[in-house]
Point group: C3
């Protein structure tokens, strides 16, 4: 009875850390674009919840998870306001680097949740993986579109969505194997976050257009 | 029997005026961007109905209000075409200033309708207020995104969404008080539009990033 | 028994050709913007399925057609990857010209499907036509927004959405006439694609803002 409780708490702590990391990425983007306080709050919110909301829209899942867990919305509002008061230009680079870790875990965790929700609806494998990728990546995509930029995930040639894509397939593979209940999601988080960590460490680059 | 009828008619007149004001803001933005007739119609439509449609998507409310009231769509189409024929560059500034009043009322009215629809579904207070703000503000946000701009509501440092935010809380406060049925929505409209009017008059500015 | 079968097969072949043409338009746009492999795949996907998905969201229609026909998603993924390996800068202009024909048919076909789905729900005439236009045009619109551009359909002054608009009304007109079952959709495809062909051939231009 104790172990699942610890796992549950650990998952919740990770989820909160990931959501905050995603929200902070929105705050920093908004600051670079010199948005006002409303812009900061909205972009932080979109970065944190955009991926999950798009997934829920596509899967016709209501209520949205930020409606069920209203506290999250208050937390994002609070972070945005605090950031405006306390964050200084020279802290941004530092914050961005510090966020790489929760962002990494967040990508894996969000992907695992997305795959899980699609698999429960009995959707085809590729669609499940897509839902995982969308959950993990589209918060950042919508954040960038709101700020009038081509999404970073589409143009920085770093493996990001691709890590979630691989992690999603690992998840589905484990689902059809005789493993403990938590194994698929755990596998997805570890593979996604691990690949992302290696990619950052080894400076992996995505294949690009071949110039002639 | 007569008073509610007058109120109903007054509300409808206000609603039509607000929708037209929002549509005209789209027409003017599209003109500045030199869009063609299709672009003008779409941007006008998005400016007028984008906020309400996003709210209905989020609240899973069908049919959309522009589907129920098809006439509105014809009116927007007509306005867009008329604007292309009759509106001249030098009329834009004039039109923009003339629209400040219906836009102000529209923001309040749209916010009140958004809060009302969310409250009827028994959603948490913060979510109800958010739905009010989204209804009032996201028409303009989507209009600007379609035109390749960072939304004005996120960067002009003028209180706009914030007025609807305050108005939304006033609405909810009145809802839990022993007041007449119409009071909450009326309060929301008056507070939102009033704050917006004062903000424009006194040149209020939103708090911004502190430069060091 | 044989004729409907041939028509069905013909329709499927056309649909696949149209979807591929739309996806390729996304690939080429992504290449011009120097996106990475993830960006290419996402923009191709959005260009191919964005219009239909937005229509299904607005009509509350699930599952989405790319969920029902998962093969389509694999095809788009494959095309995007092949394009990155094989497509060279100097092939783009050629590909763009070669795609004008399937794109033309695709616009008509997508418009016909959109009108059909809305009409089956008994929606008002103007809404049905709008759904046809959205299905045909918004894949390209979302593609351009994702790439940080003002949508081409809004600013190139070429009749595109307008062709689908006229085709949609022809569809509805035929629906209320004593014609064979397939006639309305066929009429919509022919009128839309035909108008688009003539518009390209005669260099028709949309009415624009009158400069003073």
């Amino acid at each position: 009875m104790d172990t699942p409780h610890i796992i549950d708490t650990a998952r919740q702590v990770l989820e909160i850390a990931a959501t905050i990391a995603f929200a902070l990425s929105g705050v920093i983007k908004a600051a670079h674009k010199k948005l006002d306080v409303v812009g900061v709050c909205v972009v932080a919110f979109v970065a944190a919840f955009g991926g999950g909301t798009l997934r829920d829209l596509l899967l016709d899942q209501r209520p949205f998870f930020w409606v069920r867990q209203e506290t999250f919305v208050w937390v994002i509002l609070g972070i945005s306001l605090l950031a405006i008061v306390f964050l200084r230009q020279r802290h941004f680079a530092l914050t961005e680097r510090a966020m790489l870790w929760p962002d990494m875990l967040g990508l894996g965790l969000f992907a695992a949740v997305g795959v899980d929700m699609a698999a429960e609806q009995g959707l085809p494998a590729l669609i499940c993986v897509m839902m995982g990728v969308i959950t993990g990546v589209f918060g950042g995509v919508l954040r960038d579109v709101m700020c009038g930029e081509i999404p970073q995930a589409f143009r920085d040639h770093q493996p990001y969505a691709v890590c979630a894509f691989v992690g999603g397939w690992v998840d589905l593979l484990l689902r059809s194997s005789p493993v403990p209940e938590m194994a698929p999601m755990l596998g997805c988080v570890l593979v996604t976050a691990g690949l992302r960590a290696i990619a950052l460490w080894r400076h992996w680059r995505l294949p690009s257009w071949r110039v002639e």
